[in-house]
């Protein structure tokens, strides 16, 4: 894992003191709210429905046990004992006092964390594949590139007042587990035929009110020109992105209006110029960063088990409840690892009837302990609002599961209809039209009780409380969007989205529903799927084969 050196530490420390001074000037009345707002937003402090909210960056979703414990301490010391993990691999605290905010930031800084650029029209926290460094199918660990981008984008003098917010995502496999093409810039690290490392640039994706899938702008940027290319992409956007209309200001609109070819032409021109100027960090810097991400020393396979051995040992132990307990969790929540004898284990923050993404301070501490003891001191925040132990020995899974189960963290539901992404919605968010969380709670209860979760299999359900689409509803196999219908909550249903490598945008089924209606509608569409599916088809596959009509017919008759 990356560790700050004295330079990195000095940067975040300086920022904390700067913010402390700004907050004091605000409380003394020397700054108006209009003047203070952009400053607090630059430090991740929003004003939400009930209180100030602090968004803390977890760069590329990676953190260690000590950092997770620090997050737990902050939840207890300055908040109400819990935090909310988000789709952008951040954590949000909902009840921070302005008086305490600088202290909370100082505590973060002590543990090499910060809330810098988690808001505002600047380059935001860089996200990455949550299985980075562990997945069998990756070309290389994408995180060193994400860290290089993090440093480059921190306090960037030219790109702090962009037309709109800007989100990067970095992956390094053909499979996309991070919604890469729904980011302003999605980067896939690849190797060419000559074995050289480079980057594919997808530019102009996003969700919000005008969802778009990013087109490929450059197939191969040599890796020692990565920053220069990013700088060129950003400069064209900073100069020509629309500033007359907030809703048309994201880079996706620029790329769309110019056309990908023309945008690319302008970027290439700027790129050629910047190469001559020389903005790339020295080559050795990437090597220095990469050292921090060197794979841990995995034990020899003979010291672990494979999954078959695990089953033969565990199936006989009644306390493990192989069929509906431990075994189900192993089948659903573990992911193949590149080291034999290891897997990555998903810690679900989606207990049936629970609030997607919320974790209590105690739960964070338990997860931290497990990471320290069983996963080389490493944890991940997944874009699905779950947590992950990236490197665990198969032989350790029974103890890990037992500890998680006791803490309410062992829901065996990864990628099922219970694994719902939901934004905070009207329960917390001042921009919301409708609540998202109660829907997620009721749908997961409904499917768990009827036993249909297992029958339905992989089904990605995503809920947003308004058109900003923080809950990724455009990219859900089933998406739900909260709208305001004459002062009451109403929900639009959409089908057919995906944020994986088979990326697509969901289409609205028709008129909206009230809360009970939309829950029934979700059941209806899964009925249609179960009737129509052929062997091995997931919901999304069936939808793509049979189209919208049968679903519409069943919903609206």
């Amino acid at each position: 894992m990356y560790q700050y050196d004295s330079y990195d530490q000095a940067m975040v420390d300086a920022r904390v003191e700067e913010f402390r001074d700004q907050a004091r000037r605000r409380m003394e009345g020397r700054l108006t709210e209009d003047q203070f707002k952009p400053l607090r937003l630059m430090n991740g402090l929003y004003l939400q429905l009930h209180a100030y909210m602090l968004r803390v960056a977890i760069p590329y979703g990676t953190l260690n046990a000590r950092q997770m414990e620090a997050l737990a301490d902050i939840a207890e010391k300055y908040d109400r004992g819990y935090g909310h993990f988000t789709t952008r691999q951040n954590i949000q605290y909902n009840w921070i006092r302005l008086e305490d905010a600088a202290d909370a930031l100082a505590d973060l800084a002590r543990h090499e964390m910060h809330a810098i650029q988690t808001s505002g029209n600047c380059i935001r926290n860089i996200s990455a594949d949550h299985f980075a460094g562990a997945a069998v199918d990756e070309v290389t660990d994408p995180r060193p590139y994400a860290e290089l981008l993090r440093q480059w984008s921190s306090f960037h003098p030219e790109f702090t007042y962009l037309p709109r917010k800007f989100k990067f995502c970095v992956i390094a496999s053909a499979k996309d587990r991070a919604a890469m093409r729904l980011h302003d810039i999605g980067i896939r690290i690849v190797q060419n035929a000559a074995g050289e490392t480079g980057a594919q640039f997808y530019v102009g994706g996003g969700m919000g009110r005008t969802p778009m899938i990013a087109p490929l702008v450059r197939d191969f940027v040599p890796i020692d020109q990565l920053i220069t290319y990013a700088e060129a992409c950003l400069r064209v956007y900073n100069r020509y992105g629309r500033r007359d209309n907030k809703y048309k200001a994201r880079i996706k609109i620029l790329v769309h209006e110019l056309g990908a070819a023309e945008y690319t032409r302008q970027v290439e021109e700027e790129f050629a110029h910047l190469l001559s100027v020389g903005v790339e960090p020295p080559r050795e810097e990437l090597a220095r960063i990469a050292e921090y991400f060197a794979p841990p020393t995995f034990r020899h396979p003979s010291e672990s088990w494979d999954l078959e051995q695990l089953q033969s040992k565990a199936a006989g132990d009644p306390s493990l409840r192989w069929d509906d307990g431990f075994g189900l969790w192993v089948r659903r929540n573990t992911h193949p690892h590149r080291a034999p004898g290891y897997v990555s284990a998903v810690i679900s923050l989606k207990p049936v009837g629970g609030i997607p993404g919320d974790a209590t301070a105690d739960q964070m501490r338990i997860v931290a302990r497990l990471a320290r003891e069983y996963s080389f001191d490493e944890l991940r925040v997944m874009h699905t609002q779950n947590l992950l132990l990236p490197h665990v020995r198969i032989a350790d899974l029974p103890v890990i599961w037992a500890a998680l189960d006791a803490a309410g963290l062992a829901a065996p539901n990864m990628d099922t209809i219970e694994d719902i992404i939901a934004c905070p919605g009207l329960d917390y968010c001042s921009l919301a039209n409708a609540r998202s969380i109660p829907l997620a709670q009721r749908i997961s209860e409904r499917f768990a009780e009827s036993g249909r979760t297992e029958v339905v299999g992989e089904l990605k359900l995503k809920i947003s409380g308004c058109i900003n689409a923080c809950g990724h509803h455009h990219a859900g196999h089933i998406g739900i969007l909260g709208v305001d219908r004459k002062g009451t909550e109403n929900y639009q249903l959409s089908l057919g989205g995906s944020e994986a490598e088979d990326v697509s945008l969901a289409k609205i089924t028709g008129p909206g529903f009230d809360e009970d209606g939309v829950i029934a509608a979700v059941e209806t569409v899964t009925d249609v799927y179960l009737d129509a599916r052929t062997d091995g088809e997931r919901f999304i596959d069936t939808y793509r084969r049979i189209g919208m009509e049968p679903f519409k017919e069943a919903l609206y008759g």
């Binding site: 940067m11 700067e18 029209n121 480059w152 790109f159 702090t160 900073n238 100027v277 960090p281």
Partner: protein
Amino acid sequence: MVESRDLGTSPDEVQFRFRDDEPVDHGTVTVDSCCDQTNATAVRIEPGDDARLLLPFLDRLALVEVNFPSFTDGRGYSAARILREAGYTGELRAVGDVLIDQLSHMLRCGFDSFAPDKRLDEGDAARAFATWDNVYQRAADTRRTIADKRHEA
């Protein structure tokens, strides 16, 4: 054709200046006018202007003003860097809605004089100019970056 004293800021409106030469004190013209006429030595860039149109004339320019009608419009930062990258060495003046918290970024993008609409507190400004002992990225200033320092022999 717009060519009036009103277009530019005068030297006494400049609150901070990091240059030793005499400031230009005559007709500042628009980018369009500057491209049409051969004798202008001072020009003012508005956010929507393409700074690259000025590149053929850099030798004769002594002052480029970049206007920030609102601090949230960051196009002027790119304009400044583009001029410096092309070798412009004359005065580069940030004018308009220039506030404390933008000063250090502007300095890094190559501005060397500042004429804010509202005069800034001198102490706050001095602190702001001195923000960042170290910097992560290469920009128009010649500062060695953190990465450069990490890897120097």
